[in-house]
C-alpha cells in the first residue's frame, strides 16, 4: 500500500511540476526580457507585468500543489526513490510539453541533453 502511495505521489508531483513549469515559462515569455525592461522602465514595470499575468498565477498554483505533493511523497517513500524519480520524469515531461505547448525547437541536441540529464539525476540522487 505504501508503495502505491509513493508512485502515485511521484506521478502527481511530476504532473503538477510540468504544468507549473510550462505556465511560468509562458508567463515570462509574455512579460518579455526582464533585463531589457528593467533598463528601459524600471523593476516595478516587471513586477506589475508579472502580477497581472494569469498564466503566472496558475503556474504558481500548480507549483505549490507539486511542492506539497512532494512533501507528502517524501514522507511516505524513500528520498532515494522519490527525489530522483520525480526529477527525472519531470525533466522528460518538460521536454515534451515545451515542444507541444511552447513551440520550442527541441532538436536532437536538446533531446540528448534531456535523456542524459534525466539519467544522470536518477544515478546521482538514487
Amino acid at each position: 500500500m505504501r508503495h502505491v502511495y509513493t508512485w502515485n505521489g511521484i506521478l502527481v508531483v511530476v504532473f503538477f511540476s510540468v504544468v507549473g513549469d510550462i505556465l511560468i515559462a509562458r508567463a515570462m515569455k509574455q512579460v518579455g526580457d526582464v533585463h531589457a525592461i528593467v533598463q528601459r522602465s524600471g523593476v516595478w514595470t516587471v513586477v506589475g507585468r508579472v502580477l497581472s499575468n494569469s498564466s503566472f498565477f496558475l503556474g504558481v498554483t500548480a507549483m505549490a500543489v507539486a511542492f506539497f505533493s512532494l512533501l507528502f511523497a517524501l514522507s511516505w517513500g524513500d528520498v532515494s526513490l522519490v527525489a530522483p524519480a520525480a526529477a527525472s520524469l519531470t525533466f522528460i515531461g518538460n521536454a515534451f510539453a515545451a515542444k507541444i505547448f511552447l513551440h520550442e525547437r527541441v532538436d536532437r541536441r536538446r533531446w540528448i541533453a534531456a535523456v542524459l540529464v534525466a539519467g544522470g539525476v536518477a544515478l546521482l540522487a538514487g
Binding site: 515559462a25 512533501l71 507528502f72 517524501l74 511516505w76 542524459l116 539525476v121 536518477a122 540522487a125
Partner: protein, 156 residues
Amino acid sequence: MTFRKYLVLAGITVFAAAGDSLLSHGMKQVGAISIHHLQSVILAVRNPFVAIGIVLLLAFFASYMNALSWADLTYVLPATSLGYVLLALVAKFALHEQVSLVRWLGIVLISGGVGFVAGGPALTAHGHDDDSKSPLLPKSGRSGAPNVHIHERAEL
C-alpha cells in the same frame, strides 16, 4: 549570452541546491506525515531548516523566472540539474563523504547533457538567437561537423 545572464543561471543552480538540501534536512527532523493529519504539512514550516530552505527556494524561483524571460524552458532546466552535481562535489570536497562510482557517472551524464544544451541557442521559440557568442560553441575549422552545426544554427 552576457556575463549577467550566466550569473542568473549560476544563481538558479546554487539556490536550488542549497534550498533543496536544507528542506530535505528539515523534513527529516519533522518526520513522516500521516494522511490523517494533513495540517502537519503546514506546521513543518516552523522548523528553521524548512523555513530557510523555503526562503532560498524563493530566491531560486526569482532567478528561474528571470532566466525564462530570455531563454527556453528546455535551455534553463539543465541549469537547475547542475545543482545535483554541485551537491555531490560539496559532499566530496567539503564534507569528505564517499561519492560512489555510480554517482560520478551521474555527474558525467548531467555535465554532458548541460554541455549539449549550452552549445546551442538559448531561445528558439521566438525565432531569434542571442547566443551566437557562446564560449561553449565548438570552434569552426578542421572537421566537417562544425559546418553542419553552423548550418543548423543559421536556420534558427
